[in-house]
């Protein structure tokens, strides 16, 4: 059937593009490392049988964090929660949050953006005013309100982030649809008798979606940060849940260390902090790489 030659040569060009920029490679390696970590979590940090693997096991009741030792290589944090286990499974949580939120936000944003942009008129007006309303409330405040409404838990964090996140994508998508809608090939497709559904899915969407995808990849890092912020505020995961934000929140009381030894509990905040930092950095670099690859304006530069 269809010849694959042009597709393969374009893919080759894409890889060449990535190879040329060390930052893209760095981003790719970091994200690949974290994905591998998330996949291998049950092997790297085997959960105890018949327990929810996302609940960090704790050993004892002493509130004072223990430094890294041979038993706990990252040490333990307040309440003797195993930091190593928490970080490994926390990466899994972060990845899941980022991807689920991105998918949800993309679906809602693309559908609403397409409908509003393509049909225009009253439909456009209604949808865009709704997005304006969502925009008018600060994201974190709205997310907090939604979580308070639904209850604490990582699934509700994901829901709240989707509800607060889609307007940006809907707006971007609408703008792109408005641009593509006036292209001659859309008129030509209408002149041939194509239905609206077909025009949107075959002609408008493929030509309008790239900026939205680029933005989505660049935004995964921010989503993970925002989810961590919610956890830090105590609105994210329940106690004991493997979540990097919650681990940092636990270390809040130990940042000052002991009198005369300010870094006594350094591991409690540094290790989960480093995980979040590199994770977000990786996504941002990868987002840049995606832009280099997909944006036709800079792709050939």
């Amino acid at each position: 059937m269809g010849s694959l030659k042009p597709i393969i040569s374009e893919l080759k060009f894409t890889f060449k593009r990535i190879r040329q920029s060390p930052l893209s490679i760095a981003g790719l390696i970091i994200i690949m490392f974290y994905v591998a970590l998330a996949i291998a979590a049950p092997i790297l940090a085997p959960p105890q049988p018949d327990r929810d693997p996302y609940i960090i096991p704790n050993y004892g009741i002493s509130p004072i964090p223990q430094p890294p030792s041979s038993q706990f290589i990252f040490g333990t944090t307040e309440g003797q929660y195993d930091l190593y286990y928490g970080c490994i499974w926390g990466v899994r949580t972060a990845l899941r949050t980022g991807i689920m939120v991105t998918i949800g936000v993309l679906i809602i944003g693309i559908v609403i953006g397409c409908i509003a942009g393509y049909y225009g008129g009253k439909i456009d007006e209604i949808f865009m005013r709704i997005t304006d309303i969502f925009y008018a409330v600060p994201t974190l405040v709205l997310a907090m309100a939604i979580i308070v409404l639904f209850g604490v838990g990582i699934d509700n964090v994901i829901k709240a982030m989707i509800i607060t996140g889609w307007p940006t994508y809907a707006r971007l998508m609408r703008g792109e649809v408005l641009r593509v809608k006036n292209e001659d090939y859309v008129l030509a497709a209408r002149a041939v008798g194509c239905s609206d559904y077909r025009i949107i899915t075959k002609h408008i969407l493929p030509n309008a979606i790239y900026p939205v995808i680029i933005m989505a990849t660049m935004n995964i890092g921010n989503i993970v940060l925002a989810a961590s912020a919610l956890s830090f505020l105590g609105l994210g995961s329940p106690r004991g849940y493997a979540d990097l934000g919650w681990l940092i929140s636990l270390s809040r009381n130990w940042i000052l260390g002991l009198p005369g030894n300010p870094f006594a509990f350094w591991h409690t905040y540094t290790i989960p902090g480093l995980f979040i930092f590199t994770f977000v950095l990786g996504w941002n670099l990868l987002g840049d790489a995606f832009r280099d690859m997909l944006d036709p304006l800079i792709r050939r530069r």
Partner: protein, 367 residues
Amino acid sequence: MNMEDDVILQIKDLVIRFYTYEGVVKAVENVSMFLRRGEILGIVGETGCGKTITSLSTLKLVPHPGRIEGGEVYVKTDDGLVEVTKMDERSLEGIRGRYISIVFQEPGSALNPLMRVGDQIAESLLTHRGSDYYSRALKIIDNEIKMEKGLLKRWRLMVERKLPLINRVKKLVKNEVRRDVISLLKNMGMPDPEKVYDMYPHQLSGGMKQRIVIAMALACNPSILIADEPTTNLDVTIEAQILELIKNLQSILNLSIMYITHDLGIIAELAHRVVVMYAGSVCEVAEVHELFKNPLHPYTKALLESIPRPNKPFKSILGTIPNLVNPPSGCRFHPRCSHAMENCRNKVPKLMELEKDHYVACFLYER
């Protein structure tokens, strides 16, 4: 103008207005014309005189913020005459591409850059004949199942018919459509159609793209083709090829073509009858020889005189095209007309048949 038997498209008193910020643009005022079966009707006029808008109205594709304010457009279909301007979108989809097709000016932008050109042609076939292809493929496969003796093989065929991923019906439809598209491309004089099917628009030259666009328009054997300056952006040799192609296709398929252009040379070459438009209204309608030999309307005369000729001083029509938000009263040409009379300022001239098939809208010929 009565509806004759061989008239295939008729526009009656069409009024199109654009509601813009600057005011209401009276783009098309009381335009009437008709198209006979198997003829090439040339529409000539300056930029912005409403040629394109008039042609788009036959498919009810007038772009926003334009609106069809009055008049009727009749198209002859298999179910008799239909009035297009009052149709809903769903039934329009059955007219567009099936009875009337459009070839646009810029072949580069009329093709989706992310779709194989073959698939774009196939789209038209699938939209209008999809169910035919499907039922034919179903019949073939059902026959195959009936003929098959071996129980196991028969069972396998039945499964293949239904399963979504290895759905043989879909595959068969795809192959059939591909075959039809390739034969269509061959008819368009496309070299190596098998290969061209899988190409993307950016891999093709302007002339090839225009051939693809024409193939797209003609995929479902429409009876009417609207060609909106299809050769404006091509160089002269390619232009000649495309004109030749249009001429050939017209005689082979007995197409009726509405050819929109501002190039009187092409009109002389191609058209059977000509409609001259000025500022949103029709000035003169005549057979092509009659028009060149015996132009009646002052605008037509001026237009013909402004064709550059060797050894003659260059002549142009004085004045500029009027702003259609506030068009001149009466005859829209009167501010630029050397024969303007009192009547021209106050009244709008009607299109009258002076001789057989020669219509003109001018008070000079009022009896």
